[in-house]
């Protein structure tokens, strides 16, 4: 399994270079913030007309991750769809990707209907926005500034495990932002990209 293996709340996980989290004990792939349909929502609101290939690109990457890990379960930690209209728009495309995989949708602030839904597995809360740990969450799209780039990262520490956004068109919040500092004063950031590479968080923040 390529990626960065670590233990959190008594469970073994692997942070994948793609930004997905592999949870071996559950044979589950965990992803956050797919934001499917974001391009269309922006267009509807009169914003920029982004390349309309984002759903396709995100689902292709997701499909590849499911295949590579052999996951039986997919856990999506909220903000999977930008809104209702988006969900209708991509329903057909989803069928193909998720065939044979059990999907657990956790509610996010963009998700219609399911807002606030949480789950608990092995004593770990699965939710959209980090609250009382131990929990696994998304929402913030954390990005770390390093070597002149902003790289999406996993954040681990302080009882929280926060995933980067898996969606194709997503911005991000600097790991230096106060809200993230408060949640995880010390810990690890795991860079995504070609390889999943850990770097300590505390030392970067000593200022």
């Amino acid at each position: 399994m390529s990626g960065f293996p670590f233990r959190f709340a008594g469970q073994a996980f692997t942070a994948r270079p793609s930004g997905a989290l592999w949870w071996g004990a559950e044979a589950a792939l965990v992803v956050a913030d797919l934001h499917l349909g974001k391009a269309e929502r922006m267009a509807r609101r009169g914003g920029a007309l982004l390349p309309p290939y984002e759903v396709q690109a995100t689902l292709e990457r997701l499909g590849a991750e499911l295949a590579a890990t052999g996951a039986r379960r997919l856990i999506a930690l909220g903000d999977s769809f930008d809104d209702d209209a988006a969900r209708d728009g991509v329903a057909a495309a989803l069928e193909g990707v998720f065939a044979g995989v059990e999907v657990l949708w956790v509610g996010g602030n963009h998700d219609p209907g399911t807002a606030g839904a949480e789950a608990m597995l092995h004593g770990i809360a699965l939710r959209h926005i980090a609250a009382e740990g131990p929990d696994i969450s998304g929402h913030y799209h954390p990005k770390l500034r390093i070597a002149g780039r902003r790289v999406p990262v996993f954040l681990i520490g302080g009882g929280h495990l926060i995933l980067p956004a898996f969606g194709t068109y997503t911005g991000g919040l600097d790991t230096d932002a106060p809200v993230l500092r408060n949640l995880i004063p010390e810990g690890l950031a795991v860079l995504t990209g070609r390889t999943a590479r850990p770097i300590p968080l505390g030392s970067r923040r000593r200022a």
Partner: protein, 822 residues
């Protein structure tokens, strides 16, 4: 020359048109000139009498601005309500300056008119008032004009307009700002038929081309003034082999400053300006007032330097291209150029800064930073003496700018595509625009222009009753917020801890490379990096510490085609070496004996071995940017051939590549068809291309730089342009924006056209196998800016930094997974 504007009826003079009475200077004006002790210049009177659009070419100090405004002031003796004259300049500061300078003649002549400026700094209330009740004379920038033209009331505001004065038009013509302005001008001509346009320009190599850029104008050339007094600055030590700072000459420059009233010291990059400024102060025993001015300093710091200079409080100012444009800086009597000038035309314009008095020669001295640059400086001196100015022909009209213009047009109200197309073709740069290209831009604005027609329901522009309009009128706000064609790299403000006043700005990529404790130079002082706080770089002063780093701006101008050719001609022909200093002659002579000289008409290469590495040197004389592209293309082929290329360094004159195995035959590596084939693949994944795409996507309105509330949240609201680029390449390779990006790559940072020219103009390939490192190649070994071969380069950077930080934190991960607790 007079060029008629295609497609426009000749403007009929309206009855009572004040322009009819402008043949001679009215008595009140003649008296005013006499009172100042001046006589009007002939070109000022020529401009006054002219009925057609005009392009005035005059050296600094030739009274250009007054020439531009004189016809307006004469007209405005009997002012009618409404906007009469629009003045556009590339600099906000210039607009302010002009307002001040006009105040005096207006008061002296008792003209009852309002003159106001309108720039990004103008207050919202004042801007709102100007929309309701415009002044007689409005001073503005291309971006502010584009914004005003997007208002619904634009037709009313500009209906009364009689004259447009475009200052420093030669500088505007060099960038997309000029294209945007010309589109705006075409709109103004539609709104105010009969409009007269005057362009004001410094000396340029091809006035007719600049007149075409304006859409056609009569060229009036002022006499050039006396020939400049320009020479090399004698230095006590010879120029070093490599490097770019010119520090070896600091004492000589100090001496020259001492002997002059006010000296401008031009230097090529901001980092070099900081370092040279420090070097001067280190030996400034008399504490002469010497200032610093460059684009990374805060506006406050720059304004302070400008004010000190205008008031005569300075003896010297170290500056970069930030001072290339024309505010009246007072009594400069010496210009010193540190480092190679890269471009003869720019050198001449800089020299013109010395002595604003028209009739006395400008004095300038040059200080080459290394031995190659000695040759370039001598070549430039010869070019100046022969008045052989270089110029790059303008690239085709940029379509991203047209996309923005179409969106802004839609902000005004519904428009007719045919009418807009013919209006756009009245803009000089777009005179040859095809209908197909126009329609592609319109389609991009309306639907995104994607092969997958996904947005038919949510089109940005809709066709209703034959006219295009915004589907959602609220979109106008977002479009207006993202006006402009300047897409500088992202910068971050620098400020002292506990102090709100910023010191300046540094590039974000540089900021990201800093770790707490690092020291760097900004505003002439050494500061210590403390950390980031809400997107601001916090520093503390570190007096008397040598900075660890002083590099915070990377983009360097490439040496022009003409000057490069002159350098090669001089360097490769011993008959001309008399013009060179002795130590340079000896250096070249040694080269001739050990290897070969890169003679004109040849593409010369050398190979040699040194310390277990094989070196391959190409004397391309094609400029830094083209050389960098060439090196990337050649090393790619070397990689395929299994030669194990390890890195390269590119300068304006040559490329040096090192590898594990030697290049046996350079011919296939440099064959035009092979380079071209490599170019297409390479383009796709190259970081420079991605940077170009980002600029194109921003200008065309795909990426929005400014979103409401973005700053406050700190959340990056835009997505990475790299991801958009990759997505488009993968799913829609024929998309308009990719096409624009590819076209742009032929010039500028990628500069592939110069590689093509290098190969086709110099068909004779000379390959010398040297026994060891050669005199010409040796300085290249010392050059800074070595680039490791890409592919994993960026990744390696991250790996190294991550490993260092892990080690620092005492964290090592072996095979066992770390337990992060809960």
């Amino acid at each position: 020359m007079t060029a008629s504007r295609a497609g426009t009826a000749s403007p009929a003079a309206k009855s009572g048109d004040p322009a009819i009475t402008r043949d001679t200077l009215p008595p009140a004006f003649a008296r005013w000139f006499a009172d100042q002790g001046w006589a009007p210049h002939p070109h000022q009177l020529a401009l006054l009498a002219e009925r057609d659009d005009t392009l005035l070419i005059a050296p600094t100090g030739g009274g250009k601005t007054l020439a531009g405004f004189l016809p307006s002031l004469v007209d405005l003796q009997a002012p009618e309500p409404g906007l009469h004259t629009l003045y556009v300049s590339p600099l906000k500061a210039l607009a302010n300056d002009i307002a001040r300078n006009l105040a005096r003649p207006v008061a002296d002549l008792g003209l009852d008119i309002r003159i106001e400026d309108r720039t990004g700094d103008t207050s919202a209330t004042r801007r709102a008032r100007q929309r309701v009740d415009p002044p007689h004379v409005l001073l503005t920038t291309p971006e502010s004009l584009a914004l005003m033209l997007s208002y619904e009331e634009a037709p009313r505001i500009f209906a009364t307009l009689r004259r447009v004065v475009i200052d420093e038009i030669h500088a505007l013509a060099e960038s997309k700002r000029g294209d945007q302005l010309m589109l705006g001008l075409a709109r103004l001509r539609s709104l105010a038929p009969g409009l007269q346009v005057a362009g004001l320009s410094a000396t340029v190599e091809d006035p007719a081309a600049l007149a075409r850029f304006m859409g056609g104008a009569r060229v009036i050339e002022a006499p050039p003034g006396p020939a400049p007094d320009i020479a090399m600055l004698p230095t006590s030590a010879p120029a070093p082999w490599a490097g770019g700072g010119g520090h070896y000459a600091a004492a000589d420059v100090m001496e020259a400053i001492r002997g002059a009233r006010l000296t401008l010291v031009f230097i090529n990059t901001r980092a070099q300006a900081e370092l040279f400024f420090q070097a001067l102060w280190a030996i400034n025993d008399e504490n002469l007032p010497i200032g610093l001015h460059h684009g990374s300093l805060s506006r406050e710091a720059r304004a302070k330097a400008e004010a000190a200079m205008a008031s005569g409080a300075l003896r010297a100012l170290v500056c970069t291209g930030s001072l290339d444009l024309g505010i009246d800086w007072g009594d400069v009597d010496l210009v010193i150029q540190i480092g190679a000038p890269h471009n003869v035309k720019r050198l001449v314009q800089r020299i013109g800064r010395a002595n604003h008095r028209y009739d006395s020669p400008s004095r300038a001295r040059m200080v080459p930073a290394n031995r190659f640059e000695v040759v370039e400086c001598v070549a430039a001196l010869q070019a100046v003496a022969e008045n052989d100015l270089d110029g790059t022909p303008r690239a085709d009209a940029p379509l991203d700018v047209l996309c923005q213009h179409i969106l802004l047009t839609a902000c005004v109200g519904p428009f007719d595509a045919d009418a807009l197309y013919s209006e756009v073709r009245r803009a000089g740069p777009y005179a040859a625009l095809s209908r197909a290209d126009f329609d592609a831009c319109l389609d991009f604005c309306a639907t995104g222009g994607y092969a997958l027609r996904a947005y038919d329901r949510w089109q940005r522009l809709l066709l209703r009753e034959g006219r295009w309009q915004l589907r959602d009128p609220r979109a106008a706000r977002m479009i207006r917020m993202n006006i402009g064609t300047i897409t500088d790299p992202e910068t971050m403000k620098v400020r002292r801890r506990g102090n709100r006043v910023p010191l300046g700005e540094i590039e974000e990529s540089f900021a990201a490379s800093l770790t707490p404790g690092d020291t760097f130079l900004i505003g002439g002082q050494t500061v210590r990096y403390e950390g980031l706080r809400e997107m601001v770089v916090e520093v503390t002063p570190q007096p008397a510490r040598q900075p660890k780093i002083a590099v915070f701006n990377g983009i360097k101008m490439a040496t022009s085609v003409q000057l490069s050719a002159r350098v090669q001609a001089l360097l490769g022909d011993p008959a001309q070496w008399d013009a060179l200093p002795a130590e340079v002659r000896e250096w070249l002579d040694l080269q001739r004996r050990i290897s070969v000289l890169p003679e004109p008409g040849t593409l010369t290469c050398e190979t040699f071995l040194r310390a277990g590495r094989a070196y391959f040197c190409i004397y391309g004389f094609a400029g830094r940017n083209a050389h960098q592209t060439l090196a990337l293309l050649v090393t790619r082929r070397m990689e395929e051939a299994g030669l194990g290329p390890l890195g390269f360094v590119a300068t304006d004159y040559a490329v040096l590549i090192w590898s594990l195995d030697p290049v046996a035959d350079p011919a296939p590596l440099l064959a035009a068809e092979n380079l071209r084939a490599g170019f297409d693949d390479w383009l796709a994944e190259n970081a420079v291309m991605k940077r170009s795409f980002r600029a194109v996507a921003q200008v065309a309105g795909l990426l929005q730089r400014n979103l409401p509330g973005q700053r406050k949240s700190g959340k990056q609201a835009t997505f990475s342009s790299d991801i958009l680029y990759d997505t488009l390449r993968r799913f829609d390779p024929g998309h308009l924006l990719l096409r624009i990006t590819r076209d742009a790559a032929r010039h500028g940072l990628v500069d592939f056209d110069r590689i093509e020219a290098m190969v086709s103009d110099r068909p004779r390939l000379v390959h010398a196998r040297a026994p060891h490192v050669t005199p010409l190649a040796a300085p290249l070994l010392l050059e800074a800016g070595r680039i490791p071969i890409r592919g994993l380069g960026e990744d390696r950077l991250i790996e190294a930094e991550a490993a260092r930080m892990m080690a620092e934190a005492g964290l090592y991960f072996g095979d066992g997974a770390p337990d992060m607790g809960a």
